[in-house]
């Protein structure tokens, strides 16, 4: 196979975003009639690399060749001209239009929906898609929408297809169907790249696997000649020594008991499936899992923001009284005397108001205090000043809108406000995402001090090294199910990594 001319050759590709190096001298070949799995952890530069093929980004250095000829790809239109089509994670479809109308959107020439529909049916028949050309997008499930996106790319004549984490939104059955279609396309001679971090997908689908880590190309090999263990090693690399404090939990008592929790999203996809666990006071319960495994839904369900299909979430008071949190909104939970703090993933879209200043954002949790119809403005501004000093928030003043602050400082404002509430339960999602080392350690210290206060902390994280060093116990989610709960002390990174990709983490081969 070495004599084949690569459909795409990427040589020495480097891409920087400001100071961060997203891709560092990456070499990659893509062949026709082959499915390549591009494997790597979150933030390892997989999507960035592929976006340079599809014309979204332009590489800072390096060159791209198609069928051996060097080319310049400046826009998605250029990419189409070279037969490259990418299916992004976020679909670009107009809801009120039909599949056909979406597929031909932006093309030139006379509008002939019948002819277009016929061509779409042909494409579907060739590869085994199921698309009703006349169905409206809003009537479609996520997997149908994804199919439309794929057909859209094929309709434009693409024979090099890139799919960015296509299975993140699919059920296992839908995934199987998609894989069958992808195999058909491979057999028809198309080059296919799927970006993924799920080991079993690599094993069951791909012919070849290429691994990226921290923006660097680690290696590639035929899938047959490797195994999950080796790929995990390449993907994760050697554990980094972080030296995060982990004091022993003080007198842990059950605080939150979740039983048989099942959650579906608006589209009806199961996001959490029969999840049960207990979070203890004075303990950090880490929640690990590939992004989109139900972490967001779990925290939002506890915080009273997520409708739940069935199950129960009980809060256990110090005196042993139990109270049901389900069916209550955040205000009702607060009224019950449950001090529940939540640091959500979407800081400016949910946790804070970007256009308001620090003081006003501090007020979000506390403004209801007191009987007066007026807000107490002194206290939150005083709190804001304290936070600025205590968490070393760098801001021109407490009257600056938080949207103007850097990501780390925004997070400090949010975390600061949430712990100022003297919580008994603290939910955090990706608390250190986008933060520099110093800010991250400040956040770890803050979370640890909350733990020592007897707070039950739920820490959703993406960096396994941190989870292993910070948390007392780690709950691993996999596809909305509890894959296992392991003690943080002594857990092996590889074991947790395996649990994230396979239920129970057992290698069933």
């Amino acid at each position: 196979m070495d004599n084949k001319i690569a459909a795409v050759t990427m040589r020495n590709i480097t891409k920087r975003f400001g100071p961060t190096l997203a891709n560092d001298k990456v070499w990659l070949n893509i062949y026709r009639g082959e499915i390549l799995a591009l494997l790597g952890e979150n933030g390892s530069g997989k999507t960035t690399l592929m976006n340079m093929l599809s014309g979204i980004y332009f590489p800072d250095e390096g060159e791209i060749a198609i069928d051996g000829k060097p080319v310049v790809i400046r826009s998605p239109k250029d990419a189409f001209a070279f037969g490259i089509g990418m299916i992004h994670q976020h679909f670009k479809l107009v809801d009120v239009l039909t599949a056909t109308e979406n597929i031909i959107l932006g093309l030139e020439g006379k509008l002939d929906l019948k002819a277009a529909a016929k061509k779409i049916r042909e494409i579907c028949d060739t590869y085994g898609f199921e698309v009703d050309p006349d169905q409206k997008i809003y009537d479609m499930s996520v997997s149908q929408k994804q199919t439309v996106e794929i057909v859209k790319v094929l309709y434009r004549g693409a024979d090099i297809l890139i799919l960015d984490e296509p299975t993140a939104v699919l059920t296992p059955q839908e995934t199987d169907k998609l894989f069958a279609v992808l195999r058909n396309m491979r057999d028809a001679g198309k080059a296919i790249v799927i970006i993924t971090h799920k080991m079993h997908e690599v094993e069951s689908l791909s012919d070849r696997v290429a691994v990226l880590r921290h923006g660097q190309f680690i290696g590639d090999m035929p899938t047959k000649s490797t195994n999950a263990q080796e790929m995990t090693n390449m993907m994760v690399g050697h554990p980094v020594v972080l030296n995060i404090d982990r004091p022993e939990p003080l007198d842990p008592m059950p605080r939150i008991e979740v039983k048989n929790l099942t959650v579906r999203d608006v589209e009806g996809t199961v996001k959490l499936d029969d999840v049960s666990f207990t979070a203890n006071s004075g303990e950090i319960l880490g929640i690990a899992g590939i992004s989109g495994s139900g972490q967001k839904e779990l925290l939002e369900a506890i915080a009273g923001l997520q409708p739940v299909e069935k199950g129960s979430i009980e809060y256990i008071h110090d005196d042993g009284r139990r109270e049901q949190l389900l069916g209550k909104d955040p205000f009702a939970i607060q009224e019950m005397g449950v001090a529940l703090s939540f640091v959500p993933e979407d800081r400016l879209g949910m946790g804070l108001v970007g256009n308001m200043d620090l003081g006003n954002n501090m007020m979000l949790r506390s403004y209801r205090k007191g009987k007066s119809p007026f807000t107490n403005r002194k206290a939150p501004y005083k709190l804001a000043h304290q936070m600025v000093d205590f968490l070393e928030i760098s801001t021109p003043s407490v009257e600056t809108p938080v949207r103007r602050l850097s990501g780390g400082n925004v997070q400090k404002v949010l975390v600061g406000r949430e712990i100022a509430n003297a919580p008994s339960v603290l939910l955090t999602a990706y608390a250190v995402r986008g933060l520099d080392i110093n800010s991250s350690y400040l956040i770890y210290d803050t979370i640890n001090s909350q733990k020592m206060r007897g707070v039950a902390v739920l820490y959703v994280g993406e960096d396994l090294d941190v989870l292993l060093e910070l948390c007392d116990r780690i709950l691993v989610l996999c596809g909305g199910k509890v894959s296992g709960i392991v003690p943080g002390r002594g857990a092996k990174k590889r074991d947790v990594g395996m649990m994230m990709t396979k239920l129970g983490g057992k290698d069933d081969e």
Binding site: P344, L364, Y367, R377
Partner: protein
């Protein structure tokens, strides 16, 4: 690849913070440009020199004590309606129905003035007028608010339509209560008895209105900036998700705020009918419901700045009216000038929110 890729000469980017004085300098410059433009256009139309035109504008508003009072009265009424729409706007709820809400308030007021004399003492009638006007305005705004909160019905279009329902309702009652018979208009209500007329200061007919609106302005300012309700309004307007995250009931806030908005419109109707005109016509609100949208928006929804912007619009309107009278032109000339000034200021917001970055050097990748 022989494709030539043109690098655009400039691109537009969102600005970070602009110090407030710079922002106001830009607005001031836009206003100045608008005034020059207005002067030039007026000179072209009338053939007078621009200085005389500006002089006439000034005289139209400040020429005599009476004119000053009329100016104040007009500012007060426009400001009152603008104050009414502002809470809704802060919530990003486009209440374009102030015209109808004020009209319905006026209708309720007139209804009390016409039907109650003889049945209740004067003070009780006035109390009824106040309650009825505020309530009527609130109901008129509450209907679209309910559907907005419950079904997410487009409030812009709904409130807009409600204006004309109100207009026709008033037209209906104008005929029902017509006086003298056959005129189709109501005439001055209770002209002899002055029942239901809000008290007047002996020398100054309009002072009461001005005072009420001044107090209202301060109240709305405090409500929006210092009360818990005002805070909730701001949070809902900025981000519904954040509002839900802290447990604010978004639907409740929408309905409550629109009810308040409508009630203040009702107050404007009360003042127009019960205090200023003592009559009711379908055009008594005189487009203020729409002008208020611009007053409020130009002032960035800040009640104190709105004093300035409503002054500006009324001043120009009356000034242009003076020009029209002096040079024998149609009074609608004022609307043209108002339009030009609005366009200039609306356009200037772009330069406050965005900046144009010129690309230096060619051949950079886009």
């Amino acid at each position: 690849m022989n494709k030539t890729n043109k690098t655009p000469l400039f691109h537009v980017a969102k600005r970070g913070a602009l110090p407030w004085y710079k922002a106001w300098a830009i607005r001031g410059a836009a206003l100045l440009l608008a005034l020059v433009l207005c002067g030039v256009i007026t000179s072209l139309v009338t053939g007078e020199d621009p200085i005389a035109v500006y002089g006439a504008i000034w005289k139209g508003s400040f020429g005599t004590p009476r004119k000053i009072w009329v100016l104040l009265q007009n500012i007060a009424m426009l400001l009152c309606v603008s104050l009414a729409v502002t809470p809704a706007f802060r919530m990003r709820c486009w209440n374009l129905g102030a015209e109808g809400q004020a009209l319905i308030g006026g209708l309720a007021c007139a209804a009390c003035m016409i039907t109650l004399p003889g049945k209740l003492p004067n003070w009780a009638i006035i109390v009824c007028m106040i309650v009825a006007s505020l309530l009527a305005g609130a109901v008129w705004a509450g209907i679209p608010a309910f559907f907005k909160a419950r079904y997410n019905t487009n409030e812009t279009l709904f409130t807009l339509m409600m204006n004309y329902v109100a207009t026709q309702l008033v037209a209906f009652f104008c005929v029902v209560w017509e006086s003298p018979k056959g005129s189709g208009t109501i005439g001055i209500i209770n002209q002899k008895t002055e029942i239901g007329w809000l008290p007047q200061f002996p020398s100054q007919k309009y002072l009461l209105n001005v005072l009420i609106v001044a107090v209202l302005c301060v109240l709305v300012y405090i409500y929006l900036n210092y009360s818990k309700h005002g805070y909730e309004i701001a949070v809902v307007g900025e981000s519904e998700r954040t509002a839900r995250y802290v447990g604010i009931k978004v639907e409740k806030v929408i309905v409550r705020t629109m009810l308040l908005s409508g009630a203040i419109c009702g107050l404007a109707g009360l003042l127009l009918v019960g205090s200023t005109n003592h009559t009711l016509t379908p055009t008594i609100v005189d487009g203020r419901g729409f002008t208020a949208v611009m007053v409020s928006w130009l002032a960035k929804f800040n009640p104190i700045w709105m004093i300035l912007t409503s002054f500006l619009l009324v001043f120009l309107g009356r000034g242009a009216g003076e020009i029209a009278t002096k040079f024998g032109l149609n009074r609608s000339f004022g609307d043209i000038l108002t339009g030009i000034i609005l366009f200039c200021i609306i356009g200037s917001e772009f330069f406050i929110n965005y900046e144009i970055k010129f690309t230096r050097g060619a051949g950079k990748e886009g």
